[in-house]
């Protein structure tokens, strides 16, 4: 799953990614929420996902990665 964040000035982009990271850190089943390629220069926020915990249901895969990126 990829969530696109509207582009724009870098500050705005980083503020949006920071908020997304905060939200993702509170999602059950999300671990290792991180900026990529780096915290200083974030373009995306990624997290490892425990799929069954996230979906509250069984699923053919047990692990996944969610990435939110911009633009």
């Amino acid at each position: 799953m990829v969530v696109f964040l509207g582009g724009g000035r870098g500050f705005t982009r980083r503020e949006g990614l920071r908020r997304i990271k905060e939200r993702m850190e509170n999602v059950p089943g999300f671990t290792q929420v991180r900026y990529e390629p780096s915290r200083i220069r974030p373009r995306r926020v990624s997290a490892n996902v425990d799929v069954e915990m996230f979906l509250s249901d069984s699923f053919p895969r047990t692990e996944a990665t969610v990435t939110s990126s911009s633009p």
Binding site: G8, F11, I40
Partner: protein, 183 residues
């Protein structure tokens, strides 16, 4: 004005919602638009927006939509430079500069250009396909993003150096005091 229904977590109060909305816009917005997005009344939005203007977080501009608000670019830059200086070590800042330069060098080689300006001009080349142009436009955005962050990093390094010269050790720690990826 957006036609979507805003959905906010219950623990995010109205001031924080207004702040979040206005600081994540890429163009100036008027109080009514911000109020709708933040799920507050227009009067409430104006109250918090004016406070942010007073603090220097926002600047006011007149547009076709009336009085509009946008993030103050100088405040944002200074805040970011200070945050970088406080939270990153000199080594971390230097490594990031190196990674930025490496990436830009790779783009120069990949697209046979010497600058982002040249890459922008190349968008008009007749032989490019639509996919080529879209790819180049994405690279231009990332290239300019890199340049912007590079400026902030260089200022942060200068700030650390100046404070070190002045004998202030508040920003010259040799190791980061924050957890990786925090914030």
């Amino acid at each position: 004005m957006s036609d979507k229904e805003p959905s906010w977590p219950p623990d995010v109060d109205s001031a924080e919602r207004v702040r979040h909305v206005v600081l994540t816009q890429t163009e100036p917005r008027n109080a009514g638009w911000i109020a709708t997005e933040a799920d507050v009344s227009r009067d409430t939005a104006v109250k918090y927006l004016d406070r942010m203007v007073d603090r220097g977080d926002l600047e006011v501009t007149e547009t076709a939509d009336g009085t509009c608000y946008k993030a103050d670019s100088v405040t944002q830059l200074l805040r970011e430079v200070r945050q970088l200086a406080e939270e990153q070590t000199l080594d971390e800042l230097t490594q990031e500069l190196n990674q930025i330069s490496t990436e830009i060098d790779e783009w120069k080689d990949q697209y046979s250009v010497e600058s982002v300006s040249e890459l922008r001009k190349s968008i008009g080349d007749d032989e490019l396909t639509g996919d080529d142009r879209r790819e180049r436009l994405e690279i231009i955005e990332e290239w300019e993003y890199n340049i912007e962050i590079r400026e902030s990093i260089q200022l942060a390094i200068s700030l650390k150096s100046s404070l070190s010269t002045l004998g202030s050790d508040s920003l010259v720690a040799t190791s980061s005091t924050t957890a990786p990826q925090e914030g």
